[in-house]
């Protein structure tokens, strides 16, 4: 049975701690842009914790919302790429093939979630910071679009391991860096084709929503709305 990787983001568990953000930087060799570039709006965070204010003092509230690539089934970023650099893998991921990318940036415009990031310069690390780079993830060069891959290198590694041991992948056997580091278990990753996996169980929750679902992009990431104390009390 082929896999369909998906994620559930429980907005009721998310504390906005941003451990996922740093985990992603460490795992995926995402360079730090530096103050000048960040000021120009070129900071790269494959996963970001969006936060929105509601109300005013003293009734002010904040809503946290981790946003990463939604790995849409009907992804607007895919058809627009003239070179097939952005395409749909058999396992339901929106892959970005760096070496095929010529940098038209069309996909980034088409993405309604703004989760595609462009290499405006060749990334650089002051030595010896480069020793921390993960050899399992390629280093994107200038003019190339990049994005969340659901840590495809981890998926590949797990699949190769399973193949070596002649077995199927177990649910929760591996996780993307973000889900792996999430203390409050707000991010749950797994195989949506496996009805018993935790992710598909949670996806069926009645709190489930899709981000910008009205655009018909059919994301493989599901958000679980915040609950309230009253709901819980009333059962």
């Amino acid at each position: 049975m082929s896999h369909k990787w998906g994620m559930v983001v429980d907005l009721d568990r998310c504390t906005g701690c941003e451990a996922c953000v740093v985990a992603c930087h460490a795992e995926n060799n995402i360079p730090t842009a530096g103050a000048d570039q960040a000021a120009l709006g070129r900071a790269k965070h494959w996963i970001r914790v969006e936060r929105y204010w509601e109300g005013d003092f003293p009734d002010a509230r904040i809503r946290f919302q981790p946003v990463l690539c939604q790995q849409c089934e009907q992804a607007p970023c895919e058809p627009v790429c003239p070179t097939y650099a952005s395409y749909h893998t058999p396992e339901g991921l929106n892959a970005q093939i760096y070496n095929r990318c010529i940098g038209t940036r069309f996909c980034a415009n088409a993405c309604p979630y703004n989760v595609r990031f462009f290499n405006f310069f060749n990334p650089q690390w002051d030595m010896p910071l480069e020793l921390q780079l993960n050899p399992d993830v390629s280093l994107r060069t200038v003019g190339v679009m990049e994005k969340c891959t659901f840590c495809t290198q981890r998926i590949k590694a797990a699949e190769i391991q399973a193949e070596a041991e002649k077995r199927d992948l177990k649910d929760g056997e591996f996780n993307p860096a973000c889900a792996q580091s999430c203390a409050s278990k707000a991010l749950v990753f797994g195989d949506l084709n496996d009805p018993n996996s935790e992710v598909s169980r949670l996806e069926r929750s009645n709190r489930g929503t899709k981000l910008l679902g009205e655009l018909g992009t059919k994301p493989n990431v599901t958000y679980l709305e915040r609950g309230t104390w009253e709901d819980a009390k009333n059962g």
Partner: protein
């Protein structure tokens, strides 16, 4: 007082044979602009495209604005001259060539810009469908791939359309020139002898091209508009974009044409040939397009406002009330409020008048493209990821260079080819019509000038 064939030939071929100091200064200026652009591009390739002001989420800005702008300009020529030829509007004769020239050059520039704007220009050839051991073809679902083919077709088509009617003039130059020049033009003239048979062939070819080029032109700008309309971006994802862009393109095209003519008229001293009537007629056309443009803009904005979709309204208000309001209203003035009275009132529809109107339109149409692209990208669906855009000197330089390049190409062209079709003007002289070598065939080929020249031309 009518001019004789000799005078016409003499007047129109003068630029080819005599070069003024002013001309070289102009060339120098244009060239320096162009090479400034080349330098800026080299710097961009070396340092990374980050030296532009583009950022996340505004990934397109000046680059694509200029691209759409130049492709738009290109609709002047071909479309106009093709339609005028087909409808056999006799006043077209002095106009067509400089129109067609504009087309070819602006398409050329428009096609260059995407090559400069992509992140890895050295891989642009992947847009070309060629068999490789990788067994990967371009993605034919991508509007950019469509662009590539449409523009390639348009470029070849309009080039042919420009060169066909110059053949007899090349021949004319060949006959008068001497030395190296003669050799060159002998080649260019493709052995034109002006036999009835050749005239007939030329005629047929021009007819075919005239008919073929119109749908191509329309499709090109429709496809350009689809670069935007095909993506779920607020205010981009609209069905009106196709016709809207085509209309806008013709609009800006005519304006550019009028401007060029006004300049040529002074520089090449063609007052005798580019007369008020030409500007007046083109002015009328411009007026129509201005009204049409306003209609489209109004329709587009009204539907958005009525639809009241939250993400679209953000862009809507941002462009007409907030950050981009100044640009937006300048655009409305330039494209509508200023040109319409000038072109509408006959007394103002003078050569200067139309030239001024055209100026504002060219500016306005550039702003229109900018206002379509940037505000939408700045405000996509998730407020958290909104951004802003400021151009850098590199982008400014590249833009200036695109104009410089246009001027340069035009200047060089005017050096090698008479900017007004000599033989067509001669045709205009025939009292009972017919081609220079009097032949009955002429009548069947619409080459004949029905009746005498319009009075205001003759006066």
């Amino acid at each position: 007082m009518q001019r004789t064939a000799e005078q016409i030939e003499q007047d129109l071929l003068r630029p080819v044979f005599h070069t003024s100091k002013k001309y070289w200064v102009a060339v120098a200026f244009a060239t320096s602009l162009f090479f400034a652009g080349v330098a800026a591009f080299c710097y961009q390739v070396y340092a990374g495209i980050g030296v532009w002001g583009i950022n996340s989420p505004v990934f397109w800005a000046f680059d694509i604005t200029n691209f759409v702008f130049w492709i738009g300009i290109s609709h002047a020529g071909t479309l106009i001259s093709a339609i005028l030829r087909l409808t056999n509007a006799t006043w077209r004769r002095p106009v067509t060539r400089c129109a067609e020239a504009i087309t070819v050059f602006s398409v050329l520039i428009g096609a260059l810009i995407p090559l400069c704007h992509i992140g890895r220009p050295w891989l642009a050839f992947w847009m070309i469908p060629y068999p490789s051991e990788r067994r990967i073809w371009p993605n034919f679902r991508s509007p950019l791939a469509w662009d590539f083919f449409a523009i390639a077709t348009y470029l070849t088509g309009s080039t042919i359309f420009l060169l066909l009617p110059t053949i007899p003039d090349f021949a004319a130059i060949r006959d008068t020139a001497t030395g190296l020049r003669k050799k060159i033009y002998r080649v260019l003239a493709l052995g034109w002898q002006g036999t009835p048979r050749q005239w007939q062939r030329l005629e047929t070819a021009m007819h075919i091209m005239a008919i073929a080029i119109v749908p191509v032109a329309v499709s090109v700008h429709t496809i350009v508009s689809w670069d935007f309309a095909m993506t779920p971006v607020p205010m981009w994802h609209s069905t009106i974009f196709g016709p809207y862009f085509v209309a806008g393109a013709i609009f800006s095209g005519i304006a550019a044409l009028i401007l060029t003519m006004a300049v040529l008229r002074k520089v090449l001293r063609l007052e005798e040939y580019l007369r008020r009537i030409h500007f007046e007629n083109l002015g009328k056309l411009l007026l129509t397009m201005s009204l049409l443009w306003f209609y489209f803009t109004f329709a587009e904005r009204l539907t958005t406002w009525y639809g009241n979709a939250p993400p679209e309204m953000v862009v809507f208000w941002d462009s007409i009330r907030k950050n981009f309001a100044p640009l937006f209203w300048i655009m409305v003035f330039c494209n509508f409020l200023i040109p319409v009275p000038i072109l509408g009132i006959k007394r103002l529809r003078t050569i200067t008048g139309t030239a001024i109107a055209s100026c504002t339109v060219v500016v306005g149409m550039w702003l229109e493209r900018f206002l379509i692209i940037v505000p939408s990208l700045e405000h996509k669906f998730l407020p958290y990821s909104w951004g802003t855009y400021r151009p850098t000197w590199v982008e400014d330089t590249l833009m200036a260079a695109s104009f410089g390049f246009m001027a340069l190409l035009y200047l060089l062209f005017s050096k090698f080819v008479p900017m007004i079709s000599v033989w067509e003007m001669k045709v205009g002289l025939q009292p009972h019509g017919g081609v220079p070598v009097a032949t009955a065939e002429g009548e069947h080929h619409g080459l004949v000038l029905e009746g005498p020249l319009p009075t205001d031309v003759v006066e």
